[in-house]
């Protein structure tokens, strides 16, 4: 695959992560998550069979759709009426910058040793997604954003893990776990709506 495609995919991951971390808007967050699934699939397609990549991408997009449908059905509203406080935006941008710096420095200078060779672009993107997912988890207690944070972190891990473990049964079970998480997320969202409007 040409280098510039990988670079575009990396830029897409970075920008979608910034959007989903900084802006608290459920539509943008879900679109950003879908972009992350696409970009990461492009990156791992250099080392994983294309059939597995397509399955993972479809599962990811299905996760986004299920969450989106749940949000639509309950007319989900973000906290603060969808507005975000300026200082909060600045803080989140700084956190994303810090994560990007740490990941960039670690992967390019320290490196990680695995018995299977993992391309540096995959390692870079996966580590970034894992850390960004953790940051998102740390910054919220709202079920929707917790689930998207978990999906982001898990997608980072899964894309890296798919190079190490090539079993198709594992791919299937991971798809079940992803869908299960999203269903639990939808359940919590719908339940919360019912709690607020008894």
């Amino acid at each position: 695959m040409p280098d510039f495609v990988l670079q575009i995919a990396l830029v897409l991951i970075l920008s979608s992560s910034v959007i989903s971390t900084v802006i608290h808007n459920w539509k943008l967050t879900l679109i950003a998550l879908a972009i992350q699934y696409l970009a990461m699939s492009i990156i791992i397609s250099t080392s994983v069979p294309i059939s597995v990549v397509v399955i993972k991408l479809l599962v990811g997009w299905m996760c986004c759709s299920v969450l989106g449908i749940s949000c639509f059905s309950i007319k989900f509203k973000d906290g603060h009426g969808g507005k975000t406080i300026f200082s909060s935006i600045m803080f989140r941008i700084l956190v994303v910058a810090l994560v990007a710096t740490i990941v960039g420095f670690t992967i390019t200078n320290v490196g990680l040793a695995f018995s299977v060779s993992v391309p540096s672009a995959t390692l870079l993107a996966a580590s970034f997604l894992i850390l960004i997912g953790l940051v998102q988890l740390a910054l919220t207690m709202e079920p929707l954003y917790l689930i998207t944070g978990l999906l982001t972190a898990f997608w980072g891990f899964e894309s890296f893990y798919s190079i190490l473990e090539v079993s198709s049964l594992v791919v299937g079970l991971l798809a079940i776990v992803n869908m299960g998480l999203v269903l639990v997320g939808s359940y919590l969202l719908i339940k919360e709506k019912a709690d607020n409007n008894p």
Binding site: S115, F154, F157, Y161, L164, E165, V170, V177, E192
Partner: protein, 469 residues
């Protein structure tokens, strides 16, 4: 016919039947109890190399079942462990008849239990992490039913368990590579670190414990106790599988002192934190942390026979949790809260519930004559052998539960109004199970040799793990 078919697939089939009868709550609970106890008793008394003869035909029950190239293995040595899991499921299903918990509980519990058995039986065991994760996801609707608010505790429970999952998966992969790797391979360090972080998150080991008290504070005590006895016990046995399988892992320098340190810290900190609790549910959570601490301490005291005490601790713990959760559940159903400030002087009107609660706490703390004492006493003795300071910290941690129980007792007896007459407002349906379990607690405390040694058979499933008393 194979043993995985009996103890994994048959219960899942039963769960369909239970799902169909879910609207009849009592019937569903009774059927769930019946199915679980039948499977538990079958596992307890199942003969070795069982062959059923029909005239000239014979039916052999095999240990192994192959599905999609992966094997599920339940040998004769694993059956004590399987029976314990089904006994827990049975007794918690029985208790669910007294509570208005989720109507799906009996059906879902018959999926959760075989999945746990499958997690302990699957080869290669990296799939076990996937089964455990599915159990965690199934548990969410049971712990946080549709008519209750989503709390911080349930969200943290989900997040912490989900974060542990990649570490266990990665460790599973690294361990399979480490089997053939040279001693200085980076895989060994990666596997060890992943395993440690994964289990730190899964077992609510301090400082990753915050979800546990929050969960027990908000979730129904019956549901939280079910998951918090089943999951940590199975996860500890899952950890034992790793230690049994990999010689390099169990011979790691500093592994047993690390177990002792973590165990002692959990007992001491759990004891210190339980002391200041003003919510009975939260205190239950801290008691669970202390119990996990005792289990890890037993792992660390392996060379002194600690694993025997780990296995013998399972029954007293099950009895104690059952009684504790039953009383808490009834109190929560009656008063809607477990905060001290919302509870009256219970001893004056509900002497059996409050008495049962206090006996359960004292049994878990390890007071003489109750179920927890015989094993805890032995752990205290052997814990002092490698390091006397360990024993001091354990003593201080245990004192935490004693003092908290004393506080509960004072709160339940003390009343601002002058109550002159004491009355019993519980009905027989509540009094009888409490009295039976209190009786069992005292019986186990006085005659431990009649019941507890049977549980050491659980260790037969781990033949390579050195247990040297």
């Amino acid at each position: 016919m194979s043993s995985p078919l009996i103890w994994i697939f048959l219960p899942i089939l039963f769960s369909v039947a239970l799902f169909l009868t879910k609207s009849k709550r009592l019937l569903c609970g009774i059927l769930g109890t019946f199915f679980s106890l039948v499977l538990a008793v079958a596992a307890t008394y199942f003969p070795k190399d069982f062959i059923l003869g029909f005239g000239s035909n014979s039916l052999e029950v095999k240990d192994i079942m192959v599905i999609l190239g992966r094997t599920l293995t339940i040998t004769y040595d694993n059956l004590t462990l399987v029976s314990l899991i089904f006994y827990i499921n049975g007794f918690w299903n029985m208790g669910s008849c007294w509570f208005k918990t989720s109507k799906f509980f009996p059906a879902m519990s018959m999926v959760i239990t075989p999945l746990l058995v499958a997690a302990l039986a699957v080869e290669p065991f990296l799939y076990a992490a996937l089964f455990i994760e599915i159990i965690i996801l199934i548990s969410i609707p049971l712990l946080s039913p549709a008519n209750e608010k989503t709390t911080k505790g349930i969200l943290r429970y989900l997040v912490f368990h989900f974060l542990a999952f990649p570490f266990i998966l990665f460790a599973g992969w690294a361990l399979s590579g480490a089997e053939t790797a040279p001693a200085n391979s980076p895989l060994i360090n990666q596997a060890t670190i992943s395993l440690i972080i994964g289990f730190l998150l899964l077992l609510a080991i301090i400082p990753f414990h915050s979800w546990l008290p929050l969960l027990t504070e908000s979730a129904h005590p019956w549901m939280s106790s079910y998951f918090l006895i089943l999951l940590p016990s199975s996860l500890l046995l899952f950890m034992l599988t790793f230690l049994d399988r990999y010689a390099w892992l169990r011979s790691l320098e500093g592994l047993y002192p690390l177990f002792r340190f973590i165990g002692t810290s959990m007992i001491a900190l759990g004891g210190a934190l339980v002391l200041f609790q003003k919510n009975l549910g939260k205190a239950f959570g801290y008691a669970l942390i202390i119990e996990t601490g005792f289990s890890l301490l037993c792992f660390g005291l392996n060379e002194l026979g600690g694993m025997y005490y780990f296995s013998m601790l399972l029954l007293p713990r099950m009895i104690g949790y059952w009684l504790w959760a039953f009383c808490l559940g009834k109190i929560k159903d009656e008063y809607g809260s477990l905060e001290f400030s919302n509870l009256p002087a219970l001893m004056h009107e509900k002497p059996f519930l409050s008495g049962g609660l206090i006996i359960a706490q004292l049994s878990i703390a390890g007071i003489p004559m109750l179920a927890g004492f015989p094993v805890k006493r032995m752990i205290w003795f052997i814990a002092a052998q490698p390091d006397l300071v360990n024993a001091l910290w354990i003593f201080l941690g245990t004192m935490g539960i004693y003092i908290f129980t004393f506080k509960v007792m004072v709160h339940m007896i003390k009343s601002e109004d002058a109550i002159t007459d004491w009355k019993v407002t519980e009905n027989l349906g509540v009094i009888i199970p409490i009295l039976l379990v209190v009786g069992l607690t005292i019986f186990t405390g006085i005659f431990p040799h009649l019941l507890l040694p049977r549980f050491t058979r659980i260790l037969d499933a781990f033949p390579r793990f050195p247990i040297t008393p």
